[in-house]
């Protein structure tokens, strides 16, 4: 059985309330700062963009060959467009 008096004394001795208060303040401060940086970042990067335009880098991601699905979709779109405009695809 827990003695409520001893329990509260243990919280006081362990600085429980102070740790909780400081801890929540720190985590809010850190995440608020991160939040502000995230909010300001696009504007900062627009300034940088003016000076150093983002190069189109041929990374493996955008260099990859179109997948079969994508090719099928493109082909279907081309066929649909051709059917609508009475022009043979390709």
């Amino acid at each position: 059985m827990i003695d409520p008096q001893a329990g509260i004394q243990n919280i006081v001795d362990g600085h429980g309330a102070a740790i909780a208060l400081v801890g929540m303040s720190i985590v809010f401060a850190a995440l608020s700062l991160i939040s502000v940086v995230i909010a300001v970042l696009p504007r900062l990067l627009r300034l940088v963009e003016g000076l150093f335009p983002e190069p189109v880098v041929a990374t493996p991601r955008n260099r990859a060959a179109p997948t079969e699905d994508l090719t099928t979709v493109v082909a279907a779109a081309a066929a649909y467009h051709a059917a609508r405009s009475d022009v043979a695809p390709g």
């Binding site: 909780a20 801890g23 929540m24 720190i26 809010f28 850190a30 608020s32 991601r61």
Partner: protein, 375 residues
């Protein structure tokens, strides 16, 4: 004949205790939950089998268990005892996390901070129950709903409680779909649950590259104790977003994290020997763990409602529940609860913002607790 009797006395059958049998049954339950219910199978299955292995009675004088210096399991357990595995897991998590949702909704980051109230109120509860401040700090971090962070901090502050804390943290993470919805429904009105969020904006590649570096600098400078966890998380993310280290990112988010998860889960399970695990402290830790998850969920939801008092563009308060860092489970729960009210309301992408902010938040809390309690 004497030799045979002597051998029989060393078998597990002769030295097995009821506690070992109970722990083996718990291990079997974890395996069953992992296989039949798909509750965190990547963790519950290794932990469950590890619990079975760890509860086979060992022979005095032979180095077999995780606690016997020189045994194989002792070496595997080194990564848990010294807090090596959690930052390595964070590397993999970073390499698989897309921060775009968070970058497109900065205000939702604060929900990840509010949910950390679970950590600190549980710490106070643990102190009330008579735990030392170090033990209370390690138990409180269960409220962060982040297994690796819980193991990391308990390795630093209360190594003797790692088994109970790890099992409690992962068990409750597996039970997120059960624990969270009733609290979310209790604290919100139907009208609030129907709130729709604006679609997230497009995030540029440069933003995604700059973010992990900026976030690491902020977190590590404010709470240097979080350096290893946040550092590895953001390093993994930079590997992913840079676009020039695809091979490294691929390894980090697949093979690497899988290997570390196997070692971590198995050795944590093997550390749950009945003699060290079945104690009144463990029961208190399980009780406090459940409480911490509930408080964390409530904290996030109530803070979202609080923000709505001052903002024009209302936040769906269900998103607050994703502030606990069980990624992506709590975000999925938000989606499911929101979807049940309005099948056309898709909250998953929005919920990922407080969810990943919660990961950063709990790592910062761990760093802060470590630094204030280190002797």
């Amino acid at each position: 004949m004497d030799l045979f009797v002597e051998f029989l006395e060393t078998t597990g059958f002769a030295t097995m205790t009821w506690g070992n049998i109970l722990m083996i049954l718990i291990g079997l339950m974890f395996i069953t939950l992992a296989i039949t219910k798909h509750y965190e199978p990547l963790l519950l299955l290794p932990i469950g089998f590890g619990a079975i292995v760890g509860n086979i009675p060992t022979i005095p004088g032979m180095a077999l268990s995780v606690y016997d210096e020189g045994s194989v399991l002792h070496y595997l357990y080194f990564g848990v005892r010294q807090g090596v595995y959690p930052p390595l897991i964070f590397l993999g998590i970073g390499a698989m996390t897309d921060f775009s949702a968070m970058l497109s909704s900065p205000r939702l980051v604060l929900l990840g901070a509010a949910a950390q109230i679970g950590i600190f109120l549980t710490l106070i509860g643990a102190l009330y129950l008579g735990f030392t401040p170090e033990e209370a700090g390690a138990i409180g971090i269960i409220g962060g709903a982040d297994g690796p962070t819980a193991i990391f901090l308990s390795a630093k502050l209360a190594p003797h409680l790692i088994g109970a804390i790890a099992v409690a943290a992962y068990s409750y993470m597996a039970l997120v779909p059960v624990i969270q919805p009733p609290i979310m429904k209790l604290l919100t009105t139907k009208k609030e649950r129907l709130i729709r969020m604006p679609p997230p904006r497009q995030v540029s590649l440069r933003e995604r590259i700059v973010f992990p570096i900026a976030a690491f600098l902020i977190a590590a400078l404010i709470a240097p104790g979080s350096l290893a966890l946040v550092g590895m998380l953001m390093f993994g993310n930079l590997l992913k977003e840079s676009g020039v280290t695809d091979r490294l990112a691929e390894t980090a988010r697949h093979s690497f994290i899988d290997i570390v998860t196997i070692l971590l889960g198995f050795s944590v399970g093997a550390s749950t020997q009945a003699q060290t695990f079945l104690t009144p402290e463990s029961l208190s830790i399980f009780g406090l763990g459940a409480l911490s998850f509930a408080i964390a969920t409530a904290g996030g939801v109530l803070f979202a409602k609080f923000l709505n008092l001052f903002t024009k563009n209302k936040i769906n308060p269900l998103l607050g529940a994703a502030g606990v860092s069980a990624v992506p489970d709590s975000a999925r729960v938000v989606q499911v609860v929101g979807h049940a009210e309005d099948p056309h309301n898709h909250l998953l992408m929005h919920a990922m913002a407080p969810n990943v902010a919660g990961v950063i938040g709990s790592a910062i809390c761990a760093g802060m607790l470590w630094s204030v309690m280190v002797k």
